[in-house]
Each structure stands twice: as C-alpha cells, then as structure tokens.
C-alpha cells in the first residue's frame, strides 16, 4: 500500500541520519494555508503494534520530530531541545495510512518556543499535543 501513496509537491526528506532515519522515512511538506508547519510519514510494518495499530511511541516520536523541526525553523537556531510534551491519543493509526502533522507556534521568546500540534490520517484526528522547546 505504502508505495502507492503520492507525496504532495515539495515534500522534503527530513530523515537522513540518526534516529530519524532509523524510524523514517519522514517528510516535511509545504506550510499550510494558515501558516502551520506540516510533516508526514507513510505507515510501514515496522511502525505497528501487535494489535494492528500504529505504536504510540512512533506517533509521539513523529510529533517530537515535527515540533523540533518547527522550533528550529521558527527560531533560526541550529539546535533545540524538547523540554516537555503532552500527547492525547484520540484514534488509532493504521497500516498504509499517510500520517500528517500540523504544528502551530503559540509563542516564541528568545529562549523558548511554545507549540501545539495535531496528527491526522485523512479526516481522522489521531493525536493532539502541546509542547515546549528550549532554543539552544
């Protein structure tokens, strides 16, 4: 299924090294209409749990990567570190889904970035999240 998915124009691979590559591929998409940052990944067998849903750890890792990338884009800093992240699981992801994240910046200071994010599979809302990042 995954190989039939077509990525939107302008998808950029953001999983070229380290842990991102180990769990990827993951992509950044062009920003949404209201300026939100967008990312996606196609669900593969390795992302699953034994109950046939995408593993919660994978969904949180994808949000962490989406929000970390957003905090770097917004702050211009080379590195940013996750301080806190809260995730609510509303619905399960499935094999073959193209999972999309949307990240909005609530506030940015000199040293901190406050964000909220959502994860979607088509019209199903999977996760909502709030997080704080420290600008290195």
């Amino acid at each position: 299924m995954a190989e039939e998915l077509r990525f939107p124009e302008g998808a950029e691979d953001i999983s070229t090294s380290g842990f991102n590559r180990f769990i990827g591929p993951l992509y950044r998409l062009p920003d949404g209409e209201s300026g939100e940052r967008r990312y996606c990944f196609p669900v593969a067998d390795k992302h699953m749990n034994a109950a046939g849903a995408v593993h919660g750890g994978m969904l949180m890792a994808f949000l962490d990567i989406s929000m970390s990338r957003t905090s770097r884009l917004e702050s211009g800093a080379a590195t940013c570190s996750t301080v806190s992240l809260a995730c609510d699981f509303l619905a399960p992801g499935r094999l073959g889904d193209l999972i999309l994240s949307r990240v909005r910046v609530s506030r940015r200071t000199r040293t901190m970035v406050f964000m909220s994010a959502e994860t979607w599979a088509g019209d199903r809302l999977l996760l909502t999240a709030q997080g704080v990042w420290k600008v290195a």
Partner: protein, 134 residues
C-alpha cells in the same frame, strides 16, 4: 548482546518495539523495572538520545506495568506527558521502575522516573484505558 547481570530480555511482540529494542527487565517483590541500553540507533546528530526514543521506551515500560496492574487485560494509551530533564548518550543505561498511581474499573494511571546512574533524566506520566471496560 547478553543481558546485564540480574536482567532478562523483555518479551516484545509489537513490531515497533522489536525494531527499537532490545529492552531488559528485572523483578523485585513483584514489581518490574525496565532497562534500555542506548546505542547508535537511538541518538540524534548531536549524539544525544532522541526524545522520540525516550517516549517510546516510556510507552513500552509504563504500558507493560499498566498491563501488570490490569491483571493482564489489554490497555491502550489515552494520554502521556513527558518532561525532558537531562540528555543521555550512547552507552548510557536508562532504567525505570514504573509506579502505579491509581487503578479504576476502566483506567490505569502510571508514572515513571527514568534514571542514568541514579540521576533522573526524563519523567513521564500516562493514562491507560482498559479495553472493553466502558
């Protein structure tokens, strides 16, 4: 890799956990503790263990403990909160003894402090729903 003395390899059945594992565990007075030995797969470009890996380990360990608390009934994550206190690196041994905060008929509340050499580097709390319990 051989488990460290006193530990056994945790039986993992979720493909994503098998992908990021192995995980080790030991049992003291009926309570399980879990151990992750950080390797090169788990770190980012700065050599620091990835937040996504810590959250995956927390979901695994707190989930296993919630499952123990629920008398082996299936449980799913409803929400999880994470605080990242300090970085960990390849070669570090990260250990957690998940704590049961409360169990109701349909929910299990868990928390855990994740330590390297005694210092807390990460803490997580999570809420689990027992499937089929309203």
């Amino acid at each position: 890799m051989m488990p460290p003395p006193g530990y056994t390899k945790t039986d993992l059945i979720d493909p994503f956990e098998i992908h990021v594992g192995p995980i080790y565990e030991r049992t003291d007075n009926g309570t399980r503790s879990f151990l992750l030995i950080v390797d090169d797969r788990h770190v980012n470009g700065r050599g620091v263990v990835h937040g996504g890996m810590l959250m995956t380990f927390a979901d695994l360990a707190l989930g296993a403990a919630a499952w123990d608390a629920a008398d082996k009934a299936p449980v799913v994550t409803v929400s999880m909160q994470s605080q990242f206190l300090k970085s960990a690196r390849a070669g570090d041994h990260i250990e957690v003894t998940p704590e049961l905060v409360r169990r109701t008929r349909s929910l299990v509340f868990m928390r855990g402090d994740f330590r390297v050499s005694g210092a807390v580097i990460y803490s997580a709390s999570s809420v689990w729903k027992l499937l089929g319990q309203g």
